[in-house]
């Protein structure tokens, strides 16, 4: 089955981390996986520095390498032609989209995005971030993003995350999802906290254990 998922959301909400983890999960399930960095907003904190490592793990990664870019952050981010045609790749495809409304605008430039029958757009939410800390703010933010098919509860406080922080996020994100009429696709739990969680969180959302790769992504 072909899986096509795009991760959108607020800046620093955890899009790249979840996109990487989802790609590797699909790879473990024997999918042929293409991971595409479509962050044209941000010169930093993208998955670009991890490109080689992720390729070594077996992913087909479409992204700039930092050394290929010229005037990083000053000259604007260019789309590679492989990015525009990303949805034509064989197998499953995970898209890591730049942040906010302008980031989500990238769908206009991706061939076939409007008509792809398998495409799902998931918004990543961390309620420890004040701009998306309460239901009302999450709902209004998600509505600005355009098409969103589901929410991902990625609530955490970095190294200080506790199970309570994650569960509180699950509660708020679930309330927002109910109001938006879309599902919570899963709650992301860092592997350090895995032992505290069963298959679902207290709201009944599936729990997905993720490994944090982005702390290694220096520009």
């Amino acid at each position: 089955m072909r899986i096509v998922e795009a991760f959108v959301g607020e800046y620093a909400s955890g899009k790249s981390e979840n996109a990487i983890n989802r790609s590797l999960e699909l790879l473990r399930q024997n999918h042929k996986v293409t991971l595409v960095d479509l962050d044209t907003v941000e010169p930093f904190y993208t998955l670009r520095p991890l490109k080689k490592d992720l390729q070594a793990l077996g992913l087909n990664v479409i992204a700039w390498s930092p050394e290929e870019t010229m005037g990083l952050g000053e000259a604007g981010s260019l789309l590679r032609q492989e990015m525009i045609w990303a949805l034509k790749n064989e197998g499953s495809i995970v898209l890591d989209i730049g942040y906010g409304v302008h980031g989500a605008g990238i769908f206009n430039l991706i061939e076939g995005a409007a008509t792809d029958p398998d495409l799902k757009v998931y918004a990543v939410v961390n309620t420890a971030r004040p701009l998306t800390a309460v239901k009302e703010d999450i709902v209004s933010y998600i509505k600005e993003l355009g098409r969103v098919d589901g929410l991902i509860n990625n609530t955490h406080l970095g190294d200080e995350t506790t199970p309570e922080v994650v569960e509180e996020g699950a509660r708020i994100v679930t309330e927002a999802a109910l109001e938006l009429g879309i599902p919570v696709v899963y709650t992301a739990v860092s592997q350090e906290l895995a032992e505290h969680f069963a298959a679902t969180d207290k709201m009944g959302n599936p729990v997905k254990i993720i490994k944090r790769y982005m702390p290694q992504a220096f520009w």
Partner: protein
């Protein structure tokens, strides 16, 4: 309209630029003037997202010279006004900020340093130390806080407004692109609930009453006629600055209680590498301490000298080619201490690199 942006206190997860916008909101800043430049732009973007919710304002100017002068103007009008810039933008800010120095205008500018010279990189450096502490034509009558992470960015952005308005010197919060973009948890709080009273702002012109009759004439000048006239004014500012300095200086010391083989001097985010190096050096049998100036201007000179006196050698570590080093040499003038350096202009420094350098030097 929401009243308070931050109620009570809570633990949150943010980028450094986002922290700056929240801190300015919590400090009761009325208006930000700015012109975009990476890695500062997110401060503006977060401010423009948040400010309307709390009745605050924003003006994007045509360039950094205008942003600096507009900030001066906003402050003169009695607003708790601020701006943010970096790199070549900071260069352009020096003209309006030296005007603020001359006229004693309490401006606040946030500076997530990028690489230099010129446009260089959008990423990171500590290369704006000389410019921020002593830039412009003048004497460096300004206050510069150097932050080492998100809690600092929050605390010192709030404090910068009070320092500026209390002492009437332009005040800068010197961060860097790493802090701007990195994410870590911090506690945001309503300053009032921490017992922090925001210094009241007031218009510097257009005061009530007849000048010369009901009140002294308020004549803000950055232009003087004769050498003697200027000399008197600058010396008065100098006296005010020297008097305020002991109240303004801030620093941190780590493991400096006893005799040290080496004292590591670092500021800003590089201080975190120095702090990380200490336990590694201890394991290696090296008695190391770390002194971190938080204010780079005024510099906590006496405190640095006291710490240095207990060490056999000094190691200055910075992401610049000797800008902190220059300030350290001035502070330690006359002391007979060998100074080693780890100077990495525009590049980060890790705890391991510091440890390696010290071990090789043994």
């Amino acid at each position: 309209m929401n009243e308070k942006p931050v109620i009570g206190s809570r633990r949150v997860f943010m980028t450094g630029n986002e922290v700056c916008a929240w801190a300015a909101l919590a400090a009761g800043a009325d208006i930000m003037y700015g012109y975009p430049i990476t890695p500062q732009t997110d401060i503006m973007q977060y401010w423009t997202r948040l400010a309307p919710k709390y009745g605050r304002k924003f003006l994007q100017t045509e360039d950094e010279i205008s942003a600096g002068f507009a900030t001066v103007g906003g402050v003169i009008a009695g607003k708790r006004a601020f701006s943010a810039t970096t790199g070549p933008g900071n260069t352009l800010f020096q003209e309006p900020m030296s005007m603020a120095e001359m006229m004693r205008i309490p401006t606040v500018v946030l500076l997530p340093q990028r690489g230099g010279p010129s446009t260089a990189t959008v990423i990171y450096s500590q290369q704006e130390v000389t410019m921020t502490t002593f830039g412009g034509n003048g004497e460096g009558f300004r206050v510069v806080y150097s932050t080492a992470g998100h809690q600092d960015l929050y605390d010192y952005t709030i404090k910068a407004f009070n320092t500026a308005w209390k002492y009437r010197f332009p005040t800068f919060v010197l961060g860097d692109g790493y802090q701007a973009k990195m994410r870590e948890p911090l506690t945001i709080y309503d300053p009032a609930e921490r017992g922090i009273e925001m210094v009241k702002t007031e218009p510097l012109v257009g005061l009530p009453g007849t000048p010369g009759v009901d009140r002294p004439v308020q004549h803000l000048r950055n232009t003087y006629n004769t050498e003697e006239e200027l000399y008197d004014v600058v010396m008065e500012i100098a006296r005010d600055y020297e008097k305020a300095a002991p109240e303004i200086i801030e620093w941190q010391e780590f493991d400096t209680e006893g005799e040290m083989d080496i004292l590591i001097l670092a500021h800003g985010v590089v201080s975190r590498a120095a702090q990380g190096a200490l336990p590694l050096l201890k394991d290696a049998g090296i008695r190391a301490g770390h002194f971190r100036p938080i204010t780079l201007r005024p510099m906590p000179e006496e405190q640095m000298r006291r710490a240095a006196a207990k060490a056999r050698r000094i190691l200055v570590v910075e992401s610049a080619y000797g800008q902190l080093l220059k300030l350290v040499k001035e502070a330690l003038y006359g002391m007979d201490k060998p100074i080693d350096t780890l100077l990495r202009p525009g590049a980060g420094v890790t705890a391991e690199e510091i440890v390696q350098l010290i071990q090789e030097g043994r």
